[in-house]
Symmetry: C2
Subunit: 352 residues, 2 copies
């Protein structure tokens, strides 16, 4: 059985049925409602308080998990309900994620500019490690932070600051509007119902979850098998920067399969949560997932640097700094693939 | 004995004395004179024929080897003669090397621009491999080659082409002037004497060469031990691009120790040649040396891209492309250090 291959030592393996799914969905729905109440109480003002940020994160977190479960365990759930619910939950988590994403992207790019200038870490911030960005650790760099930069790096930083802060502010307004919309109220109403009553199909309570969880894992495994892992495992393969100066301004198409694996890994992780509850996630799976998060972040940061370089009337020094920054983030993309390859192979070898 | 550690299976180890050194120097001096005659016959015109290029390479090759032997085996040679000879030989090989260096640098940068544009290799040229640049394979890219590039990449390529072709032409004139100078004639006269009569000290014919060769190896080993090899062996350590946007426009000081090891490795190799003649160089030593050549080439190419970006009145698109190119070459620097670390450790482990 595929699931036993995944975790042969788990004493609960092989016992979960639709009842476990219902319990999981009720718990996530309750979390969603609690986070929503907290978010309303803390106001959700721009650049908001820490509580408001935490509440938004908890909302996204539960929305993602409900949505993932509707996908993985679809045969056990009322089909019409599940199909109408998923895009709405994706809209909620996607809309709420944008503000944080712009903030983290700016943080990542300013940290990189400092690193590339040979400067020490920004005051009061963690050292510019190659690892994934932690939770946003403060406001973006001030003008004083940039005193140690060259004119080009400072101007590039100021440009990115303007553009990404504007994008973040807009994302914040969009999120607030979304949370006040009738569309969102309809979602919240449905989640409130879900917190007490999960629309299972009649056969669901006796249906085992494991084959469906195993199928989710198989989709992940298949997608990983299609990745160019051999190349990725070869350090300094220089693949991520191919097309770095391509005339095509769209995001790198080579990143797509990796982003897809990132999503499938998340689905796999949430599918396991339904079976194993709060059991800590396998450390190697966690490392692989973090590598893919970093891949996504670096890919989007590189695109933001390239985008900023197309701003009219910038100076050559600014453009040069943005070019260096773009290439630096594309190498972060390549480094993340290498890290994923190492983590993934380690897992496979040790699981046999 | 250190030499035995170096090559315990060599049947000739422990037998070479000053006579071997004299034979080696006479042979190199003869090569020098032959190459000089060939160079004069083939004219040495600008961008010259293949024979002229070969002759110049042979001149540099023998000058470097004579100079290295004067250094490593100094105690066996007339001190005043050796000390007056070395800087003159360094001047000859340095002056002759520049033209080729500019040509290879341009070739490397244009190849990189094509790679970064997602284009295939330049017509009639080897694929843009990450390995060391081969012998220059043709004229610089034409305008037609650049049709597949973005405006920025094409303009960056044209700018580098102008600047490095101008530098190469100047280097060629300088080399021709040097070869016609009285200073060079004095060097050639001394080499002509060396071809028949090597100024050994009286004790030299009975003096063993191995301790001096071992000392050259030890200088290499010590210099390698001082390199940050632990970091270099960690893929994607992002060290080579630190200071990539630093206000200091001088070449990266972090490259210095690696350049120094490259020179010491060459001295070590030539010291071995005196002992072992035409025995093929150890494959791992060769790999390590090639990695350091690539390190030097990428370091200088990165500096040329940064230098070009300071040209007045370039467009932002050109500057952006040069920034990407600079970062790409700095990552080549990092990749070369990684390759050197691997080759070097392999050698050490297997030599024990």
């Amino acid at each position: 059985m595929a699931q036993q291959h995944l975790d042969p030592t788990d004493p609960t393996a092989g016992t979960a049925t639709g009842d476990a799914l219902a319990g999981y969905l009720r718990a996530r729905a309750t979390e969603f409602l609690r986070a929503l109440r907290l978010h309303r109480e803390t106001g959700g003002t721009a650049g908001g308080g820490e509580e408001s940020v935490d509440a938004a994160r908890a909302l996204r977190r539960s929305a993602r998990r409900i949505s993932a479960s509707l996908h993985t365990y679809r045969p056990l759930l009322d089909a019409a309900w599940a199909e109408s619910m998923r895009p709405e939950l994706a809209w909620v988590s996607g809309t709420l994620a944008l503000e944080h994403a712009y903030e983290a992207r700016l943080e990542r790019l300013l940290q990189a500019l400092h690193r590339l200038s040979g400067a020490t870490a920004l005051p009061g911030r963690p050292a510019a490690a190659a690892g994934p960005a932690g939770p946003a650790g403060g406001p973006p760099a001030t003008a004083a932070d940039r005193a140690s930069l060259t004119v080009g790096a400072a101007k590039a930083g100021a440009l990115l600051d303007r553009q990404l802060t504007l994008a973040r502010t807009r994302a914040h307004s969009t999120a607030l509007q979304a949370l006040g919309s009738s569309r969102f109220h309809a979602v919240a109403d449905k989640v409130a119902v879900l917190a007490s009553e999960v629309p299972l199909v009649p056969a669901a309570p006796a249906t085992e979850l494991h084959p469906l969880a195993a199928a989710a894992q198989e989709r992940l495994t298949d997608a990983v098998a299609a990745l160019p892992l051999l190349t990725a495992g070869h350090p300094y393969n220089a693949q991520a920067l191919v097309h770095g100066l391509s005339p095509d301004p769209s995001p790198h198409p080579q990143d797509g399969p990796w982003h897809q694996v990132r999503l499938l890994m998340r689905l796999h992780r949430y599918a396991r949560e339904v079976l194993h509850g709060d059991t800590p996630v396998d450390a190697r799976l966690l490392t692989a997932g973090q590598a893919l998060n970093r891949h996504r972040d670096a890919s989007e940061a590189a695109a933001a640097a390239a985008q900023a370089a197309r701003t009219p009337r910038i100076t050559p020094a600014t453009a040069y700094a943005l070019g260096v920054l773009h290439a630096d983030q594309r190498h972060e993309v390549e480094a993340s693939r290498f890290a994923f390859q190492r983590a993934w192979l380690k897992e496979t070898v040790e699981a046999v």
